[in-house]
Amino acid sequence: MALYSEKVMDHFRNPRNVGIIENADGVGEAGNPVCGDIMKIYLKIDNDVITDVKFETFGCGSAIASSSMATELIKGQPRAEALKLTNKAVTEALDGLPAHKLHCSVLAEEAIKLAVKDYYDKNHIEYDHSLLPEESGCAHCHCD
């Protein structure tokens, strides 16, 4: 059996939405180089809808695939939907990840939420702080 599902390999080999958005409305970064993975998400938000999303990822195959899938799941969605994205949804959409790779999907969720938080902060929008991470806590690994 292969390490990854066909879907993971497809998103790894042909990642969707790779790149950056100049003057993005929200940018979120999760992970760090010491742990070996960083995901950066760029959002364009118009009328509360995520009209465009791009990502950059430094990391393993499942990290790249998770970012790609996460961007697909929120693209064109209302902002509120993006906030509901869970790592479980990303994992399921990829037809599963090996147990020791689940943190990659956690990073994807975290990066997107941090990007939305950045949008709120930039636009001085009040929000429920308990729903969003303050910064990438790196809780998925034990490097801090």
């Binding site: 790894f12 990822t57 990391g59 990290a63 790249i64």
Partner: protein, 397 residues
């Protein structure tokens, strides 16, 4: 193109080794402990293999114990030296920070029992010096264990010199020669080696078979209890087919060391030169004192597992010391031991070529790695931060 460049992980069996095994599965399948003809024929073959293996290593047949491979040999050697030392109140062991886990984990176990373990620094070039070994030896040192050649960065240690230091101080010396046997000249007598471990599948022999050489007079501790096989020190019916395959492979490898080395060094150096052209990359381990087959690089701004997957898509089999490929959270202890920071160690690539590797394959590897590194860097926020100066480069260029 299909390029197998992971010969340090395992090798394809040679025709000679396979052919040497077949009769002991098909016709001479007897148990060497049985007294009838096909049992005794198997016994004869076993003892003949022991003599031939001993000749390859420069020891006597009695000093050879057939085992299941490198990990078992390492464990048995270290435990045996520790038990002998313990009896004399000597509970200090010297090793290096970048040994194989078969050595490091056995030492950890002994540490829990009250042994004191000194792990010597291997420096940025991946080589420990005999003077450092000498300085670390104490009155209560019972064993020095230093690998012959490192499995990841391929650096060859000054084994004969370390052996001489240990012999002069009266301390047992073991070397894990799993990566070296069949690839580098070894003579345990001339090199003052008291114990040595090797594994057949690293030199085109079968998996699950190895040797522990222990100099006459060293009392081995059993890891397995049972019958009288291997002088009672390694009970269990002997794996005759594998032992025959291993011995044939070892003879073949030892006979062609000079020829293979002469062929591999230019190929290895061509690969090193080609990969050095990639910006912000660096060779891991000493450029000269390394296995003729080993090339190991770190590339800034990328992660090793994704590199391996994309190389696999291009038909290239290689390995990496990134955390993601090991299943643990930390990158390779070897790369950390030679001073690579975590973020660089995650972006490592080991290529281990073999005698069948061609110049065309080397050029294909260089081209593929160059393109894949560029492809991954193009989507790496870490690389962007390095390029834009938000983070600092580790390598000079």
């Amino acid at each position: 193109m299909k390029v197998y460049a992971d010969n340090a992980a395992t090798t394809k069996m040679s025709r000679t080794a396979i052919d040497a095994m077949l009769p002991y599965m098909e016709t001479v399948f007897g148990n060497p402990s049985s007294l009838y003809t096909i049992g005794q024929e198997a016994k004869e073959a076993l003892e003949n293999a022991r003599e031939r293996a001993a000749r390859c290593l420069g020891c006597t047949p009695r000093e050879i114990t057939f085992t299941s491979g490198g990990s078992e040999s390492d464990t048995q050697a270290i435990i045996s030296a520790a038990r002998a030392g313990e009896k004399k109140g000597k509970k200090h062991i010297i090793s290096t920070a970048f040994e194989h886990h078969a050595v490091l984990h056995t030492l950890k176990r002994l540490e829990k029992e009250g042994f004191e373990i000194s792990l010597l620094d291997v420096h940025s070039n991946g080589i420990v010096t005999p003077a450092e070994v000498e300085a670390a030896i104490r009155e209560d040192t019972c064993l020095v264990t230093v690998m012959f050649a490192n499995n990841e960065v391929g650096t060859i240690q000054p084994i004969a010199e370390i052996g001489a230091v240990c012999r002069a101080k009266g301390v047992l010396f073991h070397t894990d020669a799993v990566q070296a046997a069949g690839h580098v000249r070894i003579n345990v007598s001339e090199m003052n080696i008291d114990m040595l471990s090797l594994s057949a599948h690293k030199f085109h022999g079968p998996k699950g078979c190895g040797i522990l050489y222990a100099r006459k007079g060293i009392i081995l501790q059993n890891l397995i209890d049972g019958g009288a096989q291997e002088r009672g020190k390694r009970p269990g019916t002997e794996n005759i087919p594998s032992i025959m395959g291993m011995t044939a492979a070892l003879e073949e490898a030892c006979a062609s060391i000079d020829e293979v080395t002469a062929k591999l060094i230019p190929l290895r150096n061509r690969l090193i030169a080609g990969l050095s052209e990639i910006p912000y990359s660096e060779l891991n381990g000493d450029a000269e004192h390394r296995l003729p087959s080993n090339v190991n690089f770190c590339f800034e701004g990328i992660e090793g597992e994704s590199l391996l997957l994309l190389l696999d898509d291009r038909g290239i089999s290689a390995s990496s010391g990134s955390a993601c490929t090991s299943g643990s959270l930390d990158p390779s202890h070897v790369l950390l031991a030679i001073g690579r920071p975590h973020e660089v160690a995650h972006g490592s690539l080991r290529l281990s070529i073999g005698e069948n590797t061609t110049e065309e394959e080397i050029d294909y590897i260089i081209k593929s790695v160059t393109e894949v590194v560029a492809q991954l860097r193009a989507m790496s926020p870490f690389w962007r931060d390095l390029v834009t100066g938000k983070r600092t480069h580790v390598f000079a260029k």
